[in-house]
């Protein structure tokens, strides 16, 4: 944990008067973000002075906070699990979560459809960032670091899964995840919408989702294999 602290000081220095250092481009337009926040988020999440937990937790100091880490808020088991596995809210992950919450944390209780426009997300995050005093995970000097989390093309999402191949591949999953869909200690994966399954597996493959076993399983699955698994487990849910 020494590293982030050092970074904090560096960025603190950068934010001070010498604006010329690095190509410190802003994440987005915080003023526009304020309006997006009011429309999209504010009905559940408070932010700013005196913000309290409401339907959702308050979002002050969200950057670099572990997922599900307010002790006084009741999170979904799924979000708590991800937090224990090491999910922290940095720029990339916040962006991915806002884009499609269920793609990043499949069992989250946050019933928000997601914000697909990357520019509006950038504006929103720029607004939220102003309420965080730990902005070290915002790579302002590297604009390329920002972008869609699981950058899946329409082509990948439309691959028709080979169910028979998926059945063979699924045997690797069912050593832990029960075919019946039962879940205790290990989440159920039967009957998911295919797209959620595909997005989740790609998120593990790209190590966006934390969990070493899943990352290691996903790492060697190619696009077609992920589609095959998604199709098989969807079908299994219909049986």
């Amino acid at each position: 944990m020494k590293q982030p602290l050092k970074l904090l000081f560096c960025i603190g220095a950068l934010l001070a008067p010498v604006q010329t250092v690095a190509q410190a481009i802003p994440i987005g337009d915080a003023t526009a973000g304020a309006e997006i926040y009011r429309r999209e988020c504010a009905s559940c999440h408070q932010i700013g002075d005196g913000a309290q937990h409401r339907i959702g937790p308050h979002l002050n100091r969200i950057f670099d906070r572990g997922a599900g880490s307010h002790d006084d808020f009741r999170y979904s088991e799924a979000l708590l699990r991800q937090g224990r596995d090491g999910l922290r809210w940095d720029l990339r992950r916040l962006d991915a979560y806002i884009e499609n919450p269920r793609a990043l944390v499949s069992g989250t209780r946050m019933s928000y459809r997601g914000l697909s426009d990357p520019e509006r997300r950038a504006d929103l995050i720029a607004y939220m960032r102003a309420y965080s005093d730990q902005p070290q995970n915002i790579p302002e000097a590297a604009p390329t670091a920002r972008g869609r989390e699981v950058n899946l093309s329409a082509e990948i999402l439309s691959i028709e899964g080979d169910i028979e191949y998926g059945e063979f591949l699924s045997s690797e999953c069912t050593t832990c995840h029960q075919r019946s869909g039962d879940h205790a200690g290990i989440p159920g994966i039967v009957g998911w919408p295919e797209e959620d399954f595909v997005v989740a597996m790609h998120a593990y493959k790209q190590k966006l989702r934390p969990h070493e076993v899943m990352q290691s399983v996903a790492q060697r699955l190619d696009e077609e294999e992920i589609a095959a698994l998604a199709a098989y487990f969807r079908e299994l849910g219909r049986e």
């Binding site: 699990r81 224990r84 080979d162 591949l169 832990c176 029960q178 290691s216």
Partner: protein, 420 residues
């Protein structure tokens, strides 16, 4: 794009299926015999029967009517798991269409392609799967043989031996000494001895806190060593001592009648002694002529087929396959590859490229779980590791608790996969 995978696999299937399918055409139902109803054998029998929908005649030969898993038997020692919850019967495997025969396989006639049973019956096969687990190497711990297992239990094949060891530890005198003689590589369940030390320490810390544990180990290093040693220090300070090879750990002898352990010539009086001897493939693999001078049965990395016989596959602990640890998870993983290959060869169904994986969870203390795992692929000569991971020392308590809960989820998952 959509058809790439399918057409590639289609070709692969045709090529493999043509090797052997014609020889079997015209026969009524191809016959698969599986020797051993553990994690490897139980899985392969069930998957072939389930996926072939009765097109393949599957017979499982297993002497026990109830199978007690080795995995989680340490948790039973530590008081975290019920003995009965380790046991699983074969009813559901039979219901998937497997003919379960409770008998001993005593020989294999590879020319006639039959398995001889202790009852005298001979069972013919087109494909044979040999999954007998382990046996002990005689004389590996001088002074100990199987006839002494009630005085100095091995407790390394689950079942009543583990009950006996637990009873001995529970009734040990106050301040007594528990000695574990750890095995040399390779052996079943690499983290097993270290986890067992944790579980025995957990039990003693509550009921007999002045008792001591001595581990005599012929190995320089062992699986999850840093994690276990951190755990001993944290949870059971001062209780555990390990003697490695540099202090004579590889030169050990026992006298079961006297309850003595002789370490590099020094006599140590003990109260409970757990002797985990050196290991080799289960005896039937040797009788069938499938083992080499390592004591294990060499197999091809792509499909676990014996290098000695085209029609025989060897699974799990008994196999000599390369980088995979000898574990129930590995056996279950290998079984799925073998089931796919055998079904393909016998029925013409599609055969997919092998992929293997393994994860081993261990419990250090209450809510303190760790894991190690890897994925594997066939290499030219043997199975090779692709990626791997291991829990870190100093992890926070929530993560350790979650890892423990995950291990329970895994246990329930794998036994449902095999026996459920």
């Amino acid at each position: 794009m959509k058809l790439k995978r399918r057409s590639f696999l289609g070709t692969a299937t045709l090529a493999t299926a043509s090797l052997s399918a014609p020889a079997l055409m015209g026969q009524t139902r191809p016959r698969v015999v599986v020797i051993g109803g553990g994690s490897g054998g139980g899985t392969v029998a069930r998957y072939i029967a389930k996926d072939s929908n009765g097109a393949v005649d599957v017979t499982l030969i297993e002497p026990s009517r109830r199978y007690y898993t080795c995995y989680f038997s340490n948790l039973y020692l530590g008081g975290f798991w019920e003995y009965d919850a380790l046991g699983h019967d074969y009813g559901n495997i039979a219901r998937t269409g497997v003919n379960v025969v409770h008998d001993w396989a005593v020989g294999v006639d590879r020319d006639a392609q039959t398995v001889a049973l202790a009852s005298g019956e001979r069972v013919p096969y087109d494909r044979l799967v040999v999954a007998p687990g382990i046996d002990f190497v005689e004389g590996s711990v001088p002074g100990w043989d199987v006839s002494q297992q009630s005085l100095m239990p091995h407790a390394y094949k689950s079942g009543t031996q583990v009950q006996l060891l637990k009873h001995q530890i529970e009734t040990m005198r106050e301040g007594g000494l528990f000695v574990m003689v750890a095995p040399p590589n390779p052996y079943r369940c690499p983290p097993g001895p270290g986890e067992r030390v944790c579980m025995v320490a957990h039990m003693l810390a509550q009921s007999n806190p002045s008792a001591k544990i001595l581990v005599v180990d012929p190995k320089e290093t062992y699986s999850k060593q840093a994690l276990f040693e951190e755990g001993w220090e944290r949870h059971y300070p001062g209780m555990v001592t390990r003697i490695g090879p540099d202090f004579g750990g590889e030169n050990v002898e026992v006298r079961p009648e006297e309850m003595e352990v002789i370490i590099d010539g020094m006599v140590e009086k003990a109260d409970v002694v757990n002797v985990i001897p050196a290991q080799k493939a289960g005896k039937i693999a040797e009788l069938a002529g499938l083992t080499n001078d390592t004591g294990w049965a060499p197999v091809r990395p792509g499909d676990m087929r014996s290098t000695m016989d085209e029609n025989i596959f060897v699974l799990g602990d008994a196999s000599h396959q390369g980088a995979m640890p000898k574990s129930g998870f590995s056996a279950n993983s290998q079984a799925k590859v073998v089931a796919n290959v055998i079904r393909g060869e016998l029925t013409g169904s599609r055969i997919f490229p092998a992929r293997y994986s393994n994860t081993c969870w261990s419990l250090i203390a209450t809510d303190d779980g760790v894991k190690v795992g890897a994925t594997y692929e066939p290499g030219a000569e043997q199975i090779e590791s692709v990626t791997s991971f291991i829990s870190q020392t100093g992890e926070d308590a929530d993560l350790r608790r979650q890892t423990y809960e995950e291990s329970i989820g895994w246990y329930n998952g794998i036994v449902a996969d095999i026996f459920g």
